[in-house]
Each structure stands twice: as structure tokens, then as C-alpha cells.
């Protein structure tokens, strides 16, 4: 198991050091600093073995978090734990920075004592932790016996992510379907790979211990129901572009509140949600993705000192919808000396420090087209190595889900309190963003 946990600043000074196992000595702290933080070359692996001791590290801004062990630990678990540790710290004091860590070192030690026992991760749900570890010292002195046992049963219980007795005057929930669409396209316009990774984020303000059931247009579920005979009127579509009814989900993962065995057997998603905001599920699709934009690049080398670049972008969704925050990034060679750009829409600038032409368009409706052309002047060099031609990348935001996912329902049942599914106010929003959206040129 994890033998120790260290946090360093960018210079390699220790900010937090907690040792859990006898086999980890003080020298381990220095070994990591010397061999990894102060190492000359780029990090070649997130796992390093130094003198039979293994170091796992992640970086958050310029802070290094390292877990140390001498045993054959579950490596995936260690990284998951380090990420979780970051989440917990962020939930307590915001951004992970040297200053915040120094300001909260007592709190961090206290958290480390609670969420890692002898190197075994324990309950690390912020909701539960905040009931008994707070920034204003520890509660507990003045708690009643009932309160204490409520805390312990929540920390160890089956529903560790929610406490009993939550009350809201207005029962309300918000669902955000957030998708990032990834694309790698060849210069000829052939899709090399495309996938959508999506998240359903829920904000719930519900009283009691509500039992929820979430439904979406998952192909497997729809097909199963389709056999029953009831079909919604086909062709009806609220989304841009596509008229398909159901989507094939390659894979999905759920927050720990979802009953996985039920999903496995019936493919129904049922759960008791945590209070407030959390990520209900993640999913991935690769079939029938609506690619909101197409990028058509044209690069011509005119002699050794000049490049001509022309890029056309086409929006490919319903004309009534608007895409926002569009940005196209066209890389330029390192020996660029000057750039002239002409674009029909938006603003374009050559940014020498980033070696790229950045073209920004605030809004663009569906089924439109726009183009930019640029002349790039190059300094003559005797560098034999060819320019690697990084791909043209793109950023945008669209108000629909490129995967075609639709929320069909989210039902809420709370048998003990007297509010019904109808009384709950529900909001659903779809946002599609660009992930790594690249076209090679």
C-alpha cells in the first residue's frame, strides 16, 4: 500500500510530508526531488523506481504530488487516489497552489490522516468529510451523541455520499449534458478518428433521500421497448442536423451512487443522488457523430521562403442554431518572419509566441461557410529538418449534443416526504464543445 505522501513546490521544497509505513524513510523525500523534480530531461513516466522504491506523481499547476511505496501496490488506485486528494483539497480551499497549501497545512494533515489509513484509502467523499473536518478546527466538541453517530454512519455507510434530513422548500434539479467532440481528420477530409466523450452533470436540490431514475435515448433500451410496440413518432427531432432517435453508446461509467448491478441487468440507471453538484455519468460514442464543423486546409509552399495557407470552415448543423467561441488555430513554421491575413468573418492575428495564426469568430449559424487566407513569409534557414506541420486545431461551443444524446426523463421518488415527481422542477441543458478537434494539413 501507499507508504508515504509528499507535496512539493516547483523548486522541490517539501510542503507536506506524511509517512504511513515504516519502510519509507526520510531519504525518500530527497530521492524524488533529486531524480524527478530536478531531473534535466522531460518526465518520461509518471511512475519512477528509485532504489527499489516506487514514486507515483502528478502535477497540479506547479505543485508536485507524490505517493511512495515499496510494495506491489495497485497503481491505478494510487493515481485515482492522488486525483481524489486534489479534488478534496480543491473543495476545501480552492486552487491548489503553494500559498493555499501552506495556509492550510494543518487541515491537509488532518485530511491525510482521515482519508488514508496505513496507506489504504478510506472514504474520501467531500460531502461526508465536511461534516466533521472543517477549516475552523474540528467540530465534535459540542456535538450530541446522535450527531456523532450520524457522522460515523455516513462515513462508513452504504450511502456515504448523502446525509439524512436534507430539506428544501423548492425541490429542483438541473441536468447538464456536456459533450466534447474529438476529431482527427486527414488533409483530404477523411475522418481518421472521431469520438464524443460526454458527461451528465447533475445539480440536485432535493429533500430527503430521493430515489431517482434517469432515462436517455440509449439504443439498447429503445430497441427493447420498440419490441413492445410503442414507438414515438419518427423523424421528430429537436437537435441540429440529425433525425435519429436513439444512439449507440460505446461505454459508460457512473458515479458510485448508481446501482451498477441494476444497470448491468436491466440497463436502467437508478440512484440516490448526492446533494448539490456531481457528475452522474460519463459516456463515449463513436457512431453517427454530428461533426459541427469541417475544416478544409490548403497549404502551398511557394519557394523556400513563402507559404500560402487557405482554410475554409463549414458549419454543419441546423441554421437556427448558433455556435459560439469559435477559434481556429493554424500553426506556422518556427522561422516565420511575417504574416498577412485576410478573413471574411471574425478577427485573425498572427501570434509569434505561439507560432500560430489564431482566427476567432464570436458566433456562427449553422450551414454557413467562412474562409481565411494567409501569406506566411519565412526566413531562409539551412536546417535540413522539415517542418513537422502540426495539425490545425479548432475550438467551439454549440447548443446541442453532437452525439445525439437526449434525456428522456429523470423521475424522482421520495416515499417518506410528501412531494411527488411532478412537484420537482427540472432543467435540462445541452452543450457540445470541441475536445481535440484537429485536421492535418
Amino acid at each position: 500500500m501507499i507508504g508515504g505522501l509528499f507535496i512539493y513546490n516547483h523548486k522541490g521544497e517539501v510542503l507536506i510530508s506524511r509517512v504511513y509505513r515504516d519502510d519509507i524513510g526520510r531519504n525518500a523525500v530527497d530521492a524524488f526531488r533529486v531524480n524527478v523534480i530536478h531531473a534535466r530531461q522531460q518526465v518520461r513516466s509518471p511512475v519512477t523506481n528509485i532504489a527499489r522504491t516506487s514514486f507515483f506523481h502528478i502535477k497540479r499547476s506547479n505543485i508536485w504530488l507524490a505517493a511512495v511505496t515499496k510494495q506491489n501496490v495497485n497503481a491505478a488506485m494510487v493515481f485515482e487516489f492522488l486525483y481524489k486528494m486534489c479534488d478534496v483539497m480543491t473543495a476545501y480551499f480552492g486552487k491548489i497552489s503553494e500559498e493555499n497549501i501552506k495556509n492550510n497545512f494543518v487541515l491537509i494533515y488532518e485530511l491525510l490522516d482521515e482519508i488514508l489509513d496505513f496507506g489504504y484509502p478510506q472514504n474520501s467523499e467531500t460531502g461526508a468529510l465536511k461534516t466533521f473536518i472543517t477549516q475552523q478546527g474540528i467540530k465534535g466538541q459540542h456535538q450530541t451523541k446522535e450527531e456523532q453517530s450520524q457522522i460515523t454512519s455516513q462515513v462508513t455507510g452504504q450511502i456515504g455520499w448523502r446525509r439524512e434530513g436534507i430539506k428544501y422548500r423548492r425541490n429542483e434539479l438541473f441536468l447538464d449534458v456536456l459533450e466534447s467532440v474529438n476529431l482527427l481528420m486527414s488533409p483530404q477530409g477523411q475522418v481518421l478518428s472521431a469520438h464524443v466523450s460526454g458527461r451528465v452533470v447533475m445539480k440536485s436540490y432535493l429533500s430527503g433521500m430521493p430515489e431517482c431514475k434517469f432515462g436517455m435515448n440509449d439504443k439498447i433500451v429503445i430497441d427493447k421497448q420498440g419490441k413492445g410496440g410503442t414507438t414515438d413518432d419518427p423523424g421528430k427531432s429537436e437537435l441540429g442536423g440529425s433525425g435519429k432517435q436513439s444512439i449507440a453508446i460505446d461505454d459508460c461509467t457512473f458515479h458510485q451512487c448508481v446501482r451498477l448491478s441494476k444497470f448491468d441487468s436491466e440497463r436502467s440507471i437508478s440512484f440516490i443522488p448526492p446533494d448539490g453538484e456531481y457528475e452522474l455519468m460519463r459516456y463515449r460514442t463513436t457512431k453517427d457523430i454530428i461533426l459541427p464543423f469541417r475544416v478544409i486546409p490548403l497549404v502551398r509552399e511557394v519557394g523556400r521562403t513563402k507559404l500560402e495557407v487557405k482554410v475554409v470552415i463549414k458549419s454543419n448543423f441546423k441554421p437556427s442554431l448558433l455556435a459560439q467561441k469559435i477559434e481556429v488555430r493554424i500553426p506556422t513554421p518556427l522561422n516565420t518572419s511575417g504574416v498577412q491575413v485576410i478573413c471574411m468573418k471574425g478577427k485573425a492575428k498572427y501570434k509569434a509566441s505561439e507560432n500560430a495564426i489564431v482566427w476567432k469568430i464570436k458566433r456562427m449559424a449553422g450551414m454557413k461557410e467562412s474562409q481565411i487566407s494567409a501569406e506566411i513569409e519565412l526566413l531562409p534557414t539551412n536546417d535540413k529538418k522539415k517542418w513537422a506541420r502540426p495539425p490545425i486545431s479548432m475550438n467551439f461551443e454549440v447548443p446541442f449534443a453532437p452525439s445525439g444524446l437526449k434525456v428522456r426523463y429523470l423521475k424522482v421518488f421520495e416515499s417518506k416526504l410528501n412531494y411527488s415527481d411532478h412537484d420537482v422542477i427540472k432543467w435540462v441543458r445541452y452543450i457540445g464543445r470541441s475536445g481535440i478537434y484537429e485536421t492535418r494539413c
Partner: protein, 955 residues
């Protein structure tokens, strides 16, 4: 309030000031002071001098202050054990506190204080906390047992904590169950022979129930524990799989990977024609792909594991090639791993896409990545024949870029392509030759030289090219030197007239001026071959080369199996067994995948020995292995340092040169005689090439083989066997534990029959009758061959000797240690259990003398990692007496040779279950310490075989 100010105090007299503050009356000031102390501790300053003052602050009702003091205690208690005692009282008191959070805190901290005196006081509170009404306290106490075990294992056993811990597996709270499982698993790891984690269908069921309810971390503990279970049959295996598959949708990647581990392992037991088997295969792909959208560090762990999974079951991900395409912004470690997997998944169906990608990668910036991409193109050519042509043209394009390292890498892989598809792409040689000057890496130079030598007849200026390399011969690396030597000899055989001078030059450089034995020996061999029989030389040096294998750098199957059992862990990231990087006994246990159903009984025995030597692939040693086999026994002096005359007498010459030269050939598989390229591990063909090159010389020089024949058989058959050694009896069951029955005994092998000699003594007051004996399942299936023959009742104070014949046909189960035997003896009073350990020599069968050729083949065929080395100290026997003695215990000496006063004995042993053990024993005259090297397909027996050697030799 900010705490960062505590980090800034660096003035002198600090300790003194702190001391004063710690003893202040004001609570706030005290707390501030303790915070300063902790901050100093973090930075690495020694604040142990403040120990008594800090501990004084412990008695407080302020929880925050208390926690800080505990933190300090955990750090310094070990250095101040006497003063740490001062804290005990508070701990004990806190364990009784009405607040469960405080009870848990106390027991958690106490377990972290590694001071014997404190540990003593820990026992009582711990016992209470294990039965606490509050689950939070119980889950903390469960982990505390593991802590205590780490400090004092004996104490934990004596206090009966292990049983309490086992009871917690049935606890109503899932988190308590999870922590108990984690603690038990850890304790069991350092106690391999205990039946601690006695997993049976009932406990498995409990674990599977808790799995649905506990935290993400708890799920990992439980899944990792489940993975160690061996289901009884395929039905149980399937039902566990069914209950584990839902975990594949968990958001935590570690839960997913641990579930994958369980499934990969248990799947092995399912019949392949089962529908469920197919379903399971399909279910595994999506979650594995999803892991690739996690954070980069987790992606890396996932990719290292996918690399293993793809090798074990390529069908799972064969359609998922695209997800392994490298993204521009991936960290380099992710890029390199993805590339590796792409090549493994490359097939005719997707090769076009893969090649297009690889070509793209070859223009990237990172040197390592580009090299690997170029190498990958070559591997594709070898793997998918249809793509070879396209690969070659891609490589030529890359060579045109003139980027130095790209060119070198391309040449190395083109050499492999030439070997795979001879006489197909030689047209590109001209292009390659243009780049001769830019090659500065040994591997690339060696590859180029090999190409020139191999195709010397088509390259007009081959002699000039090679001569240019020869100028700086001594500055080249061995790899290049060896290659140059071979290439020039090839050239000479092809164009003898113009290159005589060149070959003389290289031979004398290799034999006279070099102190590298490999180079010298190869030089001598060529020299003699050329001078005695050029026709034979041609047949040897220009012999047809065996094809190179398609799949390169695959992980060796037994290691792969073990790594599959470690999916998700560090071992799977390093691709090394835990024993390679973990100290001590932890994790040294080798894990195995369960065998498929239907193989029945043999399934379990194959657990120990994967395969007998008879299964050695015949291709490795062709029939002519005779010659090589015999050479092993050669008892010849090493070659003399004098310059060999150009025409020595044939017989002598041959011996002289073979005596020294072939030794290296046996030992190292990267060096081959037949003239193919050395030092190219990615080819994986070197080993096969050596014997294949030899047969040609056999026919041409029969005298060599014949002359050597007489020299064998030195060690075998000398003297009469002296009988096997029998250890004196030891007490196995104390009268105290046996209600008056004392049993002592030993094991013996007499005339091929295994016997257990027992002495039963009745130390009780009443007569004992109705004796019976039974064994638990054990590693080699030992079982009583008949009933225990105690005919007359055993009266008080009477002793009786019995001999129980044993068979080896009983049920098999791997034990820890391997030679452990659990015995139950019954009489009219009760049933008694004890365990004893038998010497492995019990199982050495009489027909364990291996054929010499088979020995040689087997020795080479067993991977190097399986070799274990031992020292046997203080033996004053000469080699003949020793080998005689060993033969008495069925350790057979097959061959003996003497090199520089050192006797080498080659020995074989066969176990009752068909496992062969091969050994090499070196005895230096005058040195009482023998060196023993043991190779076996089941490496776990090596240690025990060594013990037998020691036992036999010392008695």
C-alpha cells in the same frame, strides 16, 4: 487565519522559544506553538528535543490540538521510546471516549507508534475497538490489526486478533468488511503458508455482496482479494464473473482494472464454446477503451495493462485500433505505449491506416518516439506480408529526409526485412550505401555491415566498403566488430580472389589484437574452417538462415500469466514480477492463472510444472544437436595464446578451437556462429540460428565429431549408489497438543518407494487404539498408499515404530512452502493435526537421468530468469565422491568437464510429477564452497532442490 507563517521561522534559538510557548498557559499560544513544530518537522528540521513538551499538550479536549500532537508522536516516538510511554495513558483513555471519532483516532494513532512498550498496551483497547458498536471504530480497528502485525506478528497471533479479523468479513457494514479484507490480504501475503484468507464459496458470497455496497476503494480491496481465489469449477467461475462485470461501468479506473483482472483470470476456466465466454470477451473491450479518456497518468497505467491483455487475448481489442492513434498533445510516455499496442494490433485488415499513422509520427519532434515509429514500420513489414512493399517504400522516403537518427533506425529495420523476405527488396541497397557515412550508432553500423556482407556479390565495391570500416576496427563496439568479421569472411567466400588480403587482415585483428573472447573465438573458428576445408566453411558461413519470427518482443508466457494476475498493480506497469522490485517476502509468491475446466486433475498438477522437458519445441535443437550436446562435455584446455599456424593438424586444431569457442555459443544467444547478425535482440532469431548453422560442418568434418566422441561419459556410472540420505526423526506432534500422543517421524525413499517413518509414543494415562492417518491435499499429491498399521493398542508409555508407504497419486494443491504436508492422525481419543515438511529428494525418481542432448536442449529452452544460483558451503568432497553421493539420492550426473581446475558437473533430477530439474555444479579444487545453478520450468522448486543437495552432501 493563515498557517503559512509557520514555515518562515528560521532564526536561532528557535527551539528554546518554542519550548517556552509550548509550556504556556494559554491554549491558543500552545496550539500555535505545536503548529510551528509540525511545520518544522515537515521541512525536515529535527524538533525531537521538544518531545516531552509536545506530549504534555496531549491531554486536551481540543481535538485539533490533539491531532497535531498525535502527528508529532507518530514521527518521533521511535526515537524516544521511553518518553513515548507518557502518551499511553491518554491513548487508553481516549479509546473509552463516548465520541466514536475520538475512539477511532486513538486506536488509529496508537497503531502507528512503533514502540514495543506501547504495543503491549495497545492490545486491550484494540480488542474492544474491534467489537465496538460503531462501524467507524471497527473499520479503523481492522486496519490497526494489520499495523500491529507489521510491528509484531507473533503478538497478533497470540492475542487471537486474526480470528476476530476473520469474523469482521461477515460484518454488517460494507466498509468494515472491505478494511478487514485489506488487512487480511496484507497479513496473508507475509504469511504464505497460513490459511488466513481461507476463501470458500461462503466467504466469496459475502465479499460479492459487500462489493455492491462499499466505497470505491473498498471495491478495489475486495476485487484484488477475489482475484486470488481459485474457483472450484467453471460454473462457480461464471457466477463470480457475472457478479463482477457490473463493476466495469464504475467511474473509478482502478475498480475497472481490478474487475478486468478478476475476469481475465477466471475466464481462463470457462470453456471456450460457452456462449457466456463470448459475451464476456465483448464486454471487456469498451471499458478498456474508456480508460484511455482518463487523465494521462492513468492512461499510462491502463496502456501498460492493455499491452499485457493484448498479448494474452488479442481478440478483445482487435477492432479498436483507432483509439490507440497518438494525439499530438499526448505526453510522451502515453505516445510510446500507444505505439507499442498499435503494432501488436496491426493486421492485414488495418495495416493501411496504421502505416499512414506511423509515417506521420516519424516526422515528430521527440527522438525516442520517432525512432520507435520507424522501428514500428519495420515490424509491420515483418508481421503483415502484404504490407512489406509499402513499408519498404515508406522507409526509403524516410531515409531521404536525411535526418540522422531516422536513417539509422530505418537501416536497422530494413536489415530485418531482408532477412524475412530474402531476394525481394535488394534493389534498395544502393540507396542504403549512400548513407554509409552518416551512421554513427553501433546497431546501425552493424546492420549496414551485415547487409554488405550478405549481398557482397551484388555490391561491386563491397570490399572497399568493408575495408573502410576496418580502419578503425579497435574503436568499434563488439557488435560491429563481430559483424565486420563475419561479413568479410562472407565476402571472401563469395569473391575469394580479390579479398584474400582483407580476410587475413581481419582474422589477425580479431585473433591477435583483441582481448574480447567472443571475437577471438569466432576469429579462430573462421580461420580454421577456412584453412582446413573451404567447402565446409562455405556451407557453414553461407548456410541458409532460419526465418525470423513475426511477433517480436513478446513477454515470455509464464511471466505473462503471472502479470495477468497482477493487472492494475505496479508489476503490470513495470512488466516485471513483484519479486523483481519488492523486498522481503511480500509479493514473492508467484501467482498463476487457473487452468481451463475439462483438463480435470491434471489442471492442478500443471500448476506446479507447466510442462515437462519433453515438450521442448523440437525446432530449437535439430537432430544434429548431437554434436553440440557432446561438446558440452569436452574436457579441453582453452585455446593457447600463440598465433595459430595456418595449417595445423586437423584433429588438434578442431579440438583446440571448439573447446573454447562453443562455450560462448552455449551461454549467450545473441552471438551466433552462422554469420547472421548479432546484437539484434528484436529479431529473436539468434538462438535458433546457432544449431542450424552447425549441421553443415558435421558432414564435412566427420573426424571432428568422431574424435570428440570418446571424451564423454566421464562422470556417469562411477561407483555404486550409496543409497539416499534419511534425516533423523523430528517431533511433529507434541504430546501436549496431541492429548498425550507424541508423533515424531521422517521421510525416506527406499527402492523407489516413498515411506513415512513414524514413531508413536503414548504419554497419556489411557490406552490408545484405532489409529488412522490422512493427508491434506499437497503440492505433489502425496497420499498414504495403505492404512496406518498399528495393530496392537498402544498402552501408556509405550512406543511403536511404523512405516507408512506413500503414493503420489493423491489430490494436488500447491502449498506454501512447496514441501509442506498437512497431516491428520486419528485415534480413539481425538483427531490431531500437524504439518511437516519433507525433503524434495523424496520425489526424485530413479529414472531421472536425462539424455545428454535432451539436457542441452532443455537447458537452453528454459528461460534465463528461471535459473537460480546457490552456494553450498563447507563441503570437502571431490567431484566424484560428491556425484556418487548425489546419485544415491537420484541426482544424476550426466556429464562432467574440467576447465582450469574447476570441475563442472551437469546433473538432472526428475520429480514424481514429471518435472525435470537441471543443475550445473561447479567445484573448484581446494575451495570448499560449491556453486550450484539450477534451472527448472517451475522455478519455485529450485530452492528445495538446493536444500536437498546440501542435505545429501553434508551427511
Amino acid at each position: 487565519m493563515t498557517d503559512s507563517k509557520y514555515f518562515t521561522t528560521t532564526k536561532k534559538g528557535e527551539i528554546f522559544e518554542l519550548k517556552a510557548e509550548l509550556n504556556s498557559d494559554k491554549k491558543e499560544k500552545k496550539k500555535e506553538a505545536v503548529k510551528k513544530v509540525i511545520a518544522s518537522m515537515t521541512v525536515g528540521k529535527d524538533v525531537s528535543a521538544l518531545f516531552p513538551d509536545v506530549v504534555n499538550c496531549m491531554q486536551t479536549d481540543n481535538l485539533e490540538l490533539k491531532k497535531l500532537v498525535y502527528l508529532y508522536l507518530m514521527n518521533y516516538a521511535k526515537s524516544q521510546p521511553d518518553m513515548a510511554i507518557m502518551a499511553v495513558n491518554t491513548f487508553v483513555k481516549d479509546c473509552e471516549d463516548p465520541n466514536p471519532l475520538i475512539r477511532a483516532l486513538a486506536v488509529r494513532t496508537m497503531g502507528c507508534i512503533r514502540v514495543d512498550k506501547i504495543t503491549e498496551y495497545l492490545c486491550e483497547p484494540l480488542r474492544k475497538c474491534l467489537k465496538d458498536e460503531d462501524p467507524y471504530v471497527r473499520k479503523t480497528a481492522a486496519v490497526c490489526v494489520a499495523k500491529l502485525h507489521d510491528i509484531n506478528a507473533q503478538l497478533v497471533e497470540d492475542q487471537g486478533f486474526l480470528d476476530t479479523l476473520k469474523d469482521l468479513i461477515s460484518d454488517s457494514n460494507p466498509m468494515v468488511v472491505a478494511n478487514a479484507v485489506a488487512a487480511l490480504s496484507e497479513i496473508a501475503e507475509s504469511h504464505p503458508n497460513s490459511n488466513l484468507l481461507d476463501l470458500n464459496p461462503q466467504t466469496i458470497n459475502k465479499l460479492l455482496t459487500a462489493l455492491n455496497e462499499c466505497t470505491e476503494w473498498g471495491q478495489i480491496f475486495i476485487l484484488d482479494c477475489l482475484a486470488n481465489y481459485m474457483p472450484r469449477d467453471d460454473r462457480e467461475s461464471q457466477s463470480i464473473c457475472e457478479r463482477v462485470t457490473p463493476r466495469l461501468s464504475h467511474a473509478n479506473s482502478a475498480v475497472v482494472l481490478s474487475a478486468v483482472k478478476v475476469l481475465m483470470k477466471f475466464m481462463e476456466m470457462l470453456p471456450k464454446d460457452l456462449d457466456y465466454y463470448g459475451t464476456l470477451l465483448k464486454k471487456l473491450a469498451p471499458p478498456l477503451v474508456t480508460l484511455l479518456s482518463a487523465e494521462p497518468e492513468l492512461q499510462y497505467v491502463a496502456l501498460r495493462n492493455i499491452n499485457l491483455i493484448v498479448q494474452k487475448r488479442p481478440e478483445i481489442l482487435k477492432h479498436e485500433m483507432k483509439v490507440f492513434f497518438v494525439k499530438y498533445n499526448d505526453p510522451i510516455y502515453v505516445k510510446l505505449e500507444k505505439l507499442d499496442i498499435m503494432i501488436r494490433l496491426a493486421s492485414q485488415a488495418n495495416i493501411a491506416q496504421v502505416l499512414a499513422e506511423l509515417k506521420e509520427y516519424a516526422t515528430e519532434v521527440d527522438v525516442d518516439f520517432v525512432r520507435k515509429a520507424v522501428r514500428a514500420i519495420g515490424r509491420c513489414a515483418i508481421k503483415v506480408e502484404q504490407s512489406a512493399e509499402r513499408c519498404v517504400s515508406t522507409l526509403l522516403d524516410l531515409i531521404q529526409t536525411k535526418v540522422n537518427y531516422v536513417v539509422q533506425e530505418a537501416i536497422v529495420v530494413i536489415k530485418d526485412i531482408f532477412r524475412k523476405y530474402p531476394n525481394k527488396y535488394e534493389s534498395v541497397i544502393a540507396t542504403l550505401c549512400e548513407n554509409l557515412d552518416s551512421l554513427d550508432e553501433p546497431e546501425a553500423r552493424a546492420a549496414m555491415i551485415w547487409i554488405v556482407g550478405e549481398y557482397a556479390e551484388r555490391i561491386d565495391n563491397a570490399d572497399e566498403l568493408l575495408e573502410s570500416f576496418l580502419e578503425g576496427f579497435h574503436d568499434e563496439s563488439t557488435q560491429v566488430q563481430l559483424q565486420l568479421l563475419t561479413a568479410i569472411v562472407k565476402l571472401f567466400l563469395k569473391k575469394p580472389t580479390e579479398t584474400q588480403e582483407l580476410v587475413q587482415q581481419v582474422l589477425s585483428l580479431a585473433t591477435q589484437d583483441s582481448d574480447n573472447p567472443d571475437l577471438r573465438d569466432r576469429g579462430y573458428i573462421y580461420w580454421r574452417l577456412l584453412s582446413t576445408d573451404p567447402v565446409a566453411a562455405k556451407e557453414v558461413v553461407l548456410a541458409e538462415k532460419p526465418l525470423i519470427s513475426e511477433e517480436t518482443d513478446l513477454i515470455e508466457p509464464t511471466l505473462l500469466e503471472e502479470l495477468i494476475c497482477h493487472i492494475g498493480t505496479l508489476a503490470s506497469v513495470y512488466h516485471k514480477p513483484p519479486s523483481a522490485f519488492v523486498e522481503g517476502s511480500r509479493g514473492v509468491q508467484h501467482k498463476r492463472i487457473p487452468a481451463r475446466a475439462g483438463s480435470g486433475e491434471s489442471a492442478e498438477s500443471s500448476d506446479v510444472g507447466q510442462s515437462g522437458p519433453s515438450e521442448a519445441p523440437p525446432a530449437v535443437i535439430p537432430s544434429q544437436g548431437d554434436l553440440l550436446g557432446d561438446l558440452l562435455n569436452l574436457d579441453l584446455a582453452p585455446p593457447t595464446a600463440t598465433v595459430p599456424s595456418v595449417q595445423p593438424s586437423m584433429q588438434m586444431g578442431a579440438m583446440d578451437l571448439l573447446g573454447g569457442g562453443l562455450d560462448s555459443l552455449m551461454g549467450d544467444d545473441s552471438d551466433t556462429l552462422g554469420g547472421d547478425i548479432g546484437g539484434s535482440p528484436s529479431m529473436g532469431a539468434g538462438l535458433g540460428a546457432a544449431p542450424a548453422a552447425m549441421p553443415a560442418s558435421l558432414g564435412a568434418a566427420p573426424a571432428v565429431g568422431g574424435g570428440l566422441g570418446d571424451l564423454f561419459d566421464l562422470g556417469g556410472g562411477v561407483g555404486m549408489p550409496t543409497g539416499s540420505y534419511v534425516a533423523p526423526k523430528t517431533v511433529w506432534l507434541l504430546a501436549m497438543k496431541g492429548k498425550g500422543l507424541e508423533i515424531s517421524g521422517t521421510f525416506a525413499r527406499r527402492g523407489g518407494i516413498i515411506q513415512m517413518d513414524l514413531t508413536l509414543t503414548n504419554k497419556a494415562m489411557s490406552v490408545m487404539t484405532d489409529f488412522a492417518i490422512q493427508f491434506n491435499r499437497n503440492s505433489f499429491g502425496l497420499a498414504p498408499a495403505g492404512p496406518l498399521q498399528v495393530l496392537t493398542p498402544l498402552s501408556p508409555n509405550q512406543t511403536i515404530d511404523v512405516s507408512l508407504p506413500l503414493s503420489t497419486s493423491g489430490p494436488v494443491m500447491k502449498m506454501e512452502p512447496l514441501n509442506n504436508l498437512q497431516v491428520a492422525v486419528k485415534n480413539n481419543i481425538d483427531v490431531f493435526y500437524f504439518s511437516c515438511q519433507y525433503p524434495l529428494s523424496l520425489l526424485f525418481v530413479e529414472d531421472g537421468k536425462m539424455d545428454r542432448q535432451v539436457f542441452l536442449a532443455t537447458w537452453k529452452d528454459i528461460p534465463n530468469e528461471n535459473e537460480a544460483h546457490f552456494q553450498i558451503k563447507d563441503i570437502h568432497l571431490n567431484s566424484d565422491v560428491a556425484s556418487n553421493k548425489l546419485q544415491g539420492s537420484n541426482i544424476f550426473t550426466i556429464a562432467k568437464r574440467t576447465v582450469e581446475g574447476q570441475d563442472m558437473l551437469y546433473q538432472s533430477v526428475k520429480l514424481t510429477n514429471g518435472i525435470w530439474v537441471l543443475a550445473e555444479m561447479r567445484i573448484q579444487t581446494g575451495n570448499p564452497n560449491y556453486t550450484l545453478s539450477i534451472r527448472c520450468r517451475a522455478p519455485e522448486v529450485c530452492q528445495f532442490v538446493y536444500l536437498c543437495y546440501e542435505l545429501v552432501l553434508k551427511n
